[in-house]
Symmetry: C3
Subunit: 307 residues, 3 copies
């Protein structure tokens, strides 16, 4: 991983590099104290050109738990002065003060453009509806830690599969492993885009099935990745009324599921997972939050070359 | 204090627990250096759903002086993303990143509700016009440090005694000590609410006196707790003009007061204490600011179980 | 420098005190690690009543690299609560929490007024169009580090010389050294104000020349300090069209310049320096950003008395 200075696209890592990263993250989970000074004297800048408190907190907590420090801005308002200047000048300036940058930007491609000029490692912390690579790392690490493997699995993706960038990235990432089957659960309006099917699934000869209702297939799943379904995305009210309950995971539906199912969600949720599910040992989404912090600790350490 | 995980209401502490807290705070005052690493590796989240720079600074400085770290947001703008999700989900998420939370919220009861779900200790940093327990701890600790006792005192409360939550909390808190007398100084419109008189003062057989003018009673006081009186609170202009100068503490009125009077104010002030009073050794309100930081240092240490 | 508690005006330092500061900054440049704990246990407050991300980052990175910590606010929004109170009360309160304050304020003179009441050292981080002393320190330190001297130099100042406070401060500061010649390059509308010429330049018998075009004089310069020229500042469109290219530094103009010219800019730039110039070894403006952080490290250390 020595040649990698930036993380812009979830696919920037090979399967081998991912495993190296995850095994470091796992070491941190098991013995966090050992790592509490590895970023001593280092500074992270969180440049958030749009607010995302959850992601910002995860990066900041990660850096602080490594013994590093943080400066940054968290919304357009406080960054207004820097918006007047070009991205190249901003990263060259900020890169004079800090050792690593996490950039969130509403404009697709801004972090990649920034990385060309950054004198320090730069992490894409989400660019519009485009990429959010550390969410994908979080999802993958959660699968690894809860299932103990990346291959030989049936993965259900449920909800809005059309606009959800995390879903598309997860399909791409998991398609690199052996014997993966996807079950794509969504209303017709919100199906996975065709290019994902042809360019990723078909090209890699990945088995997949498209269905409309979660209850039909939940018993087959090893992983269930839930996402939000917004009413506004439906073409007509009738469809919405007919289907909406199918995309809500509750105790009833869970009765049909495997004992060792792992339920993931990128959060925040609205109502697509009932609160009653939170107590079920198969609910892993809050664990996933914590894994997100650990995988960012590993990522920062790797990019800074301190581990 | 081992069973206490949260601080939501100023009455959450018994008199004995308070004394334990204050004697730790006093130790910190006397030997701050000794405590500079006790929160090493710990993180505080300041979740301020409404701005309160003064309170936020006090918490953050407290945590940093203990060797801990801080993440957070300070106003509705930057927290917008999290406002879309439920309080339980937010505290479970943030509680995955940090070791302790200070929450300020415009909605009464929000911190208590949050505490039911928080995996880490949660401190109410003010919830609307309801409670502000760390202000009460600050007031009490200032009384303890400046007077050397909590009993055998005449306490004057001056200004808006109707809407001031810090005044109500202070009455409740001090009513638990021996031989306390209150002198309640306010215009008729802004008198202490009846339930405070019947449920707190009368029930505990606390002596009290209600008067309209500070100059009438200032000579009797051991403590004078000043608060702001807003013109808008008066029913008629005539009353306001007749009384307004009675609620302004100046050098002239102070001539009548005891040598060892302690003047407190929760700050910020507008004009209810003249600037000329700042130089008087009896003015303790800036000392009170500093005690507020020390008592928060003690509180954080206790809740984290590091002291 | 023991008597100096605040930095409000760039002229607050004598030439000797400046040299003491710069030689400390130079030591930090050469051996940053040695200084990484000198502010251990100290806190800086950044009170930014108007946003200036660049300046705030420089102060915060400086304090963190010295092992200190930071609290603060970065824009009017989050400071709203404190805006209701007087500057004296705010600095006395904040000065109870922290060890040093950097204040940015849209109102001229606010930092000086604040310094009268501050219990801790206070640094003016820019007050409206008035003063920005740490920018001047940055400019001077960059000259010292790139040229190795402050005397015997021809300094070109190019662009808006009328409204640019950094230009005025630099003229004042450099006028204290030996054998300095200024070449003032600007359109007629944006010439250096008369009081600078009579009270600073003439009074100190400093040689200077006023010209309209950069290309006429660039070959004479040892330092070229570029600033932005806004179209709105011109009296008429014809002048703007005739002159605008004269205030843009590009590769073509640079061909005429000395081999050891140092190009400075307070940043952010708009288009007054072409991107192609960035690669030229004479371009020192990003180096200047870094020197700005180092000189603030030295300043904070000196004011806190830790070095």
């Amino acid at each position: 991983m020595t040649k990698l200075r930036h993380l812009i696209d979830p696919q920037d890592f090979t399967v081998e590099e991912l495993e190296e990263l995850f095994s470091l993250a796992d070491e941190i989970v098991k013995n966090e104290k050992k790592f509490k000074n590895v970023c001593d004297g280092k500074i992270l800048a969180t440049l958030f050109y749009e607010p995302s408190t959850r992601t910002r907190f995860s990066f900041e907590a990660a850096m602080l738990r490594l013994g590093g420090q943080v400066i940054g801005f968290s919304e357009p308002g406080s960054s207004s002065v820097m918006k007047g200047e070009s991205i190249p000048d901003t990263v060259r300036t900020v890169g004079s003060y800090v050792d690593i940058i996490a950039m969130r930007h509403p404009k697709e491609g801004a972090p990649r453009y920034a990385s060309y000029y950054s004198p320090v490692p730069l992490i894409n912390a989400g660019d519009g509806g485009h990429q959010h690579p550390t969410q994908t790392l979080t999802d993958l690490f959660t699968i690894r830690q809860t299932k103990g493997r990346f291959s030989n699995m049936t993965i259900g993706l449920c909800g809005d599969l059309k606009f959800g960038r995390t879903v598309h990235s997860l399909i791409k990432a998991m398609s690199r492993y052996e014997n993966i089957k996807f079950i794509l659960i969504s209303p017709d309006e919100l199906k996975v885009p065709d290019y994902i099917k042809t360019e990723i699934l078909d090209r890699n000869s990945i088995e997949y099935l498209e269905v409309e209702r979660l209850e039909e297939v939940i018993q087959e799943l090893d992983i269930l990745y839930m996402t939000r379904v917004q009413k506004e995305r439906f073409f007509n009210e009738a469809d919405y009324i007919r289907l909406k309950d199918s995309y809500i995971l509750d105790k009833e539906k869970l009765k049909l599921a495997k004992e060792d199912l792992a339920i993931l969600h990128p959060l925040p949720r609205v109502n697509e997972i009932s609160y009653e599910v939170d107590e079920d040992p198969r609910a892993k989404y809050f664990q996933q939050v914590k894994y997100g912090m650990y995988v960012r600790m590993a990522l920062i350490s790797k990019l800074l070359g301190v581990m």
